[in-house]
């Protein structure tokens, strides 16, 4: 049986490197279904990733794929998009890659509201390097670099990106496959910077250290902790502790998109420059 997503999959490169129970494959498949539904073309679609478990997704995707350097996927994607505004450019990144080492590029891309789509796989841990803490790890979480429990508070990446200027912000989980697919699809279609946080289970590196080394149970837990934006609106901060607020959290289709503004400005400059004779006559 062949799956429809195989059209955009390098099946000859499988099996993938992800551990059993990892949620990265679920998010990658959701992205591929969204790409198929939107009719994205290989010639004009580029997936850019950084370094880390989630960023390895670009190895298996049969589109234009750039596996760049740690933390810099958004910066590379910015260059691609500016050079080829007609391309659809998607960034696949993780919580370490996108929110720690690459945090500065993330907020600046939000501020510019450049038409990129960033899907950030959030598993709260550095999996590839063996289980170190990430900036999205909850207080009390255990990692090789927080062996006695983490003391720092985590980022709420959706609040962060909205505040920084992203015009589309959403959160889904690997436990809600169809919703995630819809969110990614809407994000790609959105004209402006779209940020989608995908909460994924990491049973091997996170789970084993935090008493949840069971993939189905971790997915179940994501589902039970999830709450819609509408329901969350009525709850206090205390009541929301430990909950995962999912769905489209912010959407503004009227915010000026960077490339459109840039191109209009460049056209005006070019017109002015091509009429120096008229200028001299003045």
């Amino acid at each position: 049986m062949s799956l429809e997503i195989e059209e955009f999959l390098h099946t000859e490169r499988l099996p993938h490197i992800w551990c059993p129970g990892c949620g990265n494959g679920i998010v990658t498949a959701a992205f591929l279904r969204a790409a198929l539904d939107l009719g994205l073309k290989r010639e004009s679609t580029v997936v850019v990733s950084g370094i880390g478990c989630s960023s390895r997704a670009s190895n298996y995707i049969d589109l234009g794929t750039v596996h760049s350097i740690h933390g810099r996927a958004i910066a590379v994607a910015t260059g691609i998009k500016m050079a080829r505004p007609n391309f659809t450019v998607i960034v696949l990144t993780g919580d370490g890659d996108g929110a720690a080492i690459g945090g500065n590029h993330l907020i600046h891309a939000c501020r510019r509201n450049i038409d990129l789509t960033c899907v950030l796989f959030n598993n709260q841990i550095y999996g590839m390097t063996g289980g170190q803490l990430s900036p999205t790890m909850e207080v009390g979480g255990r990692a090789t670099t927080a062996p006695h429990g983490h003391v720092e508070p985590p980022f709420d990446l959706c609040r962060l990106t909205e505040a920084a200027g992203a015009s589309f912000v959403a959160r889904g989980t690997a436990g809600h496959i169809r919703q995630l697919e819809k969110l990614i699809k809407k994000g790609i279609a959105h004209p402006g910077f779209a940020f989608i946080e995908a909460v994924v289970p990491c049973p091997t590196e996170y789970g084993r250290r935090n008493g949840t080394a069971n993939a189905p149970r971790m997915l179940d837990d994501e589902r039970t902790r999830s709450i819609s934006k509408a329901k969350a609106a009525g709850l206090s901060r205390q009541e929301l502790a430990g909950k995962i607020v999912t769905g489209i959290l912010h959407e503004d289709t009227t915010a000026p998109e960077f490339l459109q503004a840039y191109t209009a400005d460049a056209r005006a400059q070019a017109e002015e420059a091509s009429a120096p004779a008229a200028k001299e006559q003045k």
Binding site: S58, V66, V76, G79, M82, A83, T263
Partner: protein, 399 residues
């Protein structure tokens, strides 16, 4: 991208902000660099402000959008070089400009660009370092960083500009080399060369303009004589859908851990520059074959060296000057050729002997290599160099 809306005659007037139908004009080195880049076809610039290089970025911000290109000020130098790499992966000619601290930040991405064989121009207008150092004083302290700054064994093409005209023509040469060898090229300037103004002949513009007959600008084009060493021309959107990775990869573009493939991949990457050394090494010899002492110099020190040679000529000292425009790949043949015929090689540098050490390795079996270093943010005077030469010759004769 937009097409250039202007004719070339309007073009230079527009770029320079003044008419170009004069016999010569006075412009700043950094602006000459921007002009050279635009003439060479650079249509993408991403940068971050830093003294003493910011005028390159300012000129690009002013002129590039109207020229149908893209200018963007990024959030830091890492983002700047990464955006350039992204644009270059689509086939655009991209560049960035910076100074020491920013150049340090770019090193990791520079290695990525080498690894994925992406053409790119990086201009480093050197200041005195390390650290913040003295941002508005000249230095040549980044020579070895330009060669070995990024980790791992890698090829490097490094050019050095000594005056305003060089900032124009070496920028063009650097772009040409980057395209031909599909690798980043580093152009070193220093605060003096970048920020001073001197006369610049518009004739140069015609003489050094690269035409389509001169070079093939087709994205992803690989010259037949480089076909073996260049692996994959990654051009996003060219009909193929490549995978680009900084991991060791094979000819398919996908990662490999195979020892044999890893070895041949890196060796071929290295050799594509090493095997074309003669084509890449630009130099100039003054008073060829007539000196007992040869001053080997590059960048702003080459200006002093030329002045010292003229003074030596008046005073009857036998001096020749080897002016190097290409620092890496090492100009082994020319250095050894000169080393065989002179008694001393004197290398004045605005650092503590970074390049003298390289020359010593190549030349010490034939001649005595003497370094002369200065790190106080000032230049050598011709007299200082001449005094040292007189001292060397005197010492030699008294033995």
């Amino acid at each position: 991208m937009l097409n250039c809306p202007m004719h070339m005659d309007q073009w230079h007037s527009h770029l320079l902000g003044e008419r170009v139908d004069q016999s010569s004009l006075v412009i700043q080195g950094n602006r000459a660099c921007a002009l050279g880049a635009l003439d060479a076809g650079v249509r993408f610039f991403a940068g971050y402000p830093i003294s003493p290089s910011s005028e390159i970025m300012e000129a690009m911000a002013d002129r590039l959008p109207a020229a149908g290109g893209v200018f963007i000020q990024m959030e830091d130098e890492i983002a700047s070089i990464c955006a350039c790499i992204g644009a270059a992966l689509t086939g655009e000619l991209a560049m960035t400009a910076t100074s020491g601290p920013g150049f340090s930040l770019m090193q990791e991405a520079l290695g990525y660009a080498i690894m994925v064989e992406t053409p790119l121009l990086i201009v480093n207008v050197m200041r005195v370092g390390p650290s913040t150092g003295r941002p508005t004083a000249p230095s040549q302290g980044d020579v070895m960083q330009a060669r070995w700054g990024t980790h791992g064994d890698h090829p490097a093409i490094v050019l050095a500009a000594s005056n305003v005209a060089d900032m124009y023509r070496l920028t063009m040469a650097a772009v040409r080399f980057a395209q031909r060898f599909r690798t980043p090229v580093i152009l070193l300037a220093d605060q003096l060369v970048g920020q001073m103004r001197e006369s610049f002949s518009p004739e140069l513009i015609g003489r050094y303009r690269l035409t389509s007959g001169d070079f093939d600008f087709t994205p992803g084009y690989i010259h037949p004589d480089l076909a073996r060493e260049v692996h994959r021309p990654h051009v996003l959107g060219s009909g193929s859908h490549p995978h680009v990775t900084g991991l060791f990869h094979d000819d398919t573009g996908f990662p490999t851990n195979d020892p044999e493939k890893s070895d041949s991949f890196l060796r071929e990457l290295y050799n594509k520059v090493a095997h074309h050394r003669n084509e890449l090494c630009l130099y100039d010899v003054k008073n060829e074959g007539k000196g007992r002492v040869c001053i080997v110099a590059y960048g702003s020190c080459a200006r002093t060296a030329r002045a010292a040679w003229k003074l030596a000529d008046q005073e009857g000292l036998p001096v020749e000057v080897l002016h190097l425009y290409t620092l890496f790949p090492l100009p082994v043949e020319i250095i050894q050729q000169v080393a065989r015929r002179v008694e001393f090689m004197l290398i004045p540098e605005l650092n503590l002997g970074q390049y003298a050490h390289e020359v010593r390795k190549m030349a010490e079996q034939w001649t005595t290599v003497i370094g002369m270093g200065k790190i106080d943010g000032t230049l050598f005077t011709p007299r200082e160099i001449l005094d040292r030469i007189a001292e060397l010759i005197g010492k030699y004769e008294s033995v």
